[in-house]
Point group: C2
Chain length 248, copies 2
């Protein structure tokens, strides 16, 4: 039974792409056939895995997605690259209802080949992210332990509830993930306490520590579990993977 | 001669809002009448200065902007609050050419009352940011010293050049600002060297250090120059202010 997880948060720079890449790589390592879909016009998930952005976006072209997914150098992990082409990016950002339904169908057409499909979203709550949510079984929300990150969460939850109402029983919460966790900062512990109090069970036990190895890895086009296997960041993403598999 | 500076970068979480708030507050302290316009649907600049998001976005309502700008508790600083109302956010994200021209006109109508107008943009290169660029004299781009931040810069510069071509002589570069600078990390120095080599003079001498006081300040609805006047973050934003005034 394939599971599609949408990794989304309109707040920028909270670790969406970093979580997409490293959770996808960890799922692959755990023996799951995994596809990472890059829905962000910045194409960070594509370059972070050593692939190249395509001349035109696979979700806009007529070709079936399964022929456009590319194998990566990492175990059981394929990627559907993004594209910088402005026309495609603009088109995807302004989808009408029928175009959005077509993209959802295309995304769902390739789930059969994989155990997990992860979708990396841009920092916005626009049509592109809503389309990705509609194509997903679960949503995983990374959040930094910072003041501004808390503000956006309530707004984001509101939009997710909207999508859940349109398609009852389809979209659930994978969880809220605390990222760039700095044990030495009071602010980090304040935000953690507030998030766990407000959202309870939905918040993953695993937190991802701030670890420079995590931010160096994409510069070498490798997930941190490959670039720095003994780092704290790597251990945390492996723990997250076990927790995600445990919740299935 | 009022100057409008657009603070933009499609990469998320690079310090756009933090720079908007703290540069605006420092300009006010330096005796300049300053307005901060919140064009981001998350309304972080609004709450970071202790104001409340409006029920409907001032740029969409018929009322003149000058009547909707609110004084803040900080010297010579006013804010044009944002709004969470999804309909307004969606409308602003999908402006057609004539609507965009109206928004540009509205933004320019209130510059007469101020020495500086700063516009905080959302993390995207969509119509909203392009409209803000069209209404501005200069663009200031914050960038983190991280791998992914470098990737987006070249794409961003391409779009800015586009806007410059449409309106020759209007939009210039205020500069590129290195934020969350961590002296102890090799990655930070690598990115700094590459950015200075690639962009030369455009890059501000001033860098903003990573400083927890900077990220605590918005939780108290105050700019860091008010919340922690002896902090490294405060000193850096004061230095940036002097450098911006020096370039005028
Ligand atoms: N655990 C971590 N430790 C240290 N750095 C991290 C960690 N997680 C992410 N980063 C760094 O923080 C920055 C932001 O992360 P990332 O780009 O994954 O966020 P994002 O939410 O995808 O951003 P955007 O909103 O632009 O899509 C990146 O430069 C990344 O390398
Ligand atoms: N110099 C700094 N030192 C420490 N933390 C910082 C610094 N500058 C910004 N931050 C923190 O980093 C986070 C991201 O900054 P900010 O929200 O200003 O970025 P942004 O580019 O406006 O994000 P978005 O793309 O979501 O609009 C915030 O939580 C902020 O408090
Ligand atoms: Mg990303
Ligand atoms: Mg912001």
């Amino acid at each position: 039974m394939p599971t599609t997880i949408c990794i989304a948060n309109q707040k920028g720079g909270v670790g969406k792409t970093t979580t997409s890449i490293n959770l996808a790589a960890a799922l692959g390592r755990a023996g799951k056939q995994t596809l990472l879909v890059d829905m962000d016009p910045q194409c960070n998930a594509t370059s972070g895995l050593g692939s190249r952005a395509l001349p035109s976006h696979p979700l806009v072209s007529e070709q079936a997605l399964r022929h456009q997914a590319k194998k990566t150098d990492f175990t059981n992990l394929s990627v559907l690259p993004g594209s910088h082409r402005f026309r495609d990016v603009d088109l995807l950002a302004n989808l009408d209802d029928s175009e959005s339904a077509r993209v959802v169908q295309q995304l769902q057409s390739c789930t059969g080949l994989f155990d997990f499909v992860l979708i990396d979203c841009p920092p916005s709550m626009g049509r592109l992210t809503q389309t990705a949510l509609s194509a997903s079984d679960e949503v995983l929300m990374p959040i930094q332990c910072e003041y501004f990150a808390m503000e956006g969460l309530k707004q984001m939850i509101g939009v997710i509830r909207d999508v859940m109402q349109h398609r009852p029983g389809k979209l659930g919460f994978a969880g809220i993930l605390l990222t760039m966790f700095d044990d030495s900062l009071e602010l980090t512990h304040e935000v953690e306490a507030e998030v766990r109090e407000f959202f309870g069970e939905i918040v993953f036990e695993t937190v991802i520590p701030r670890d420079v190895m995590v931010s160096e890895a994409p510069g070498h086009s490798r997930p941190v579990i490959d670039y720095a296997p003994r780092s704290r960041g790597c251990r945390a993403y492996m723990e997250l993977c076990m927790e995600v598999l445990g919740r299935e």
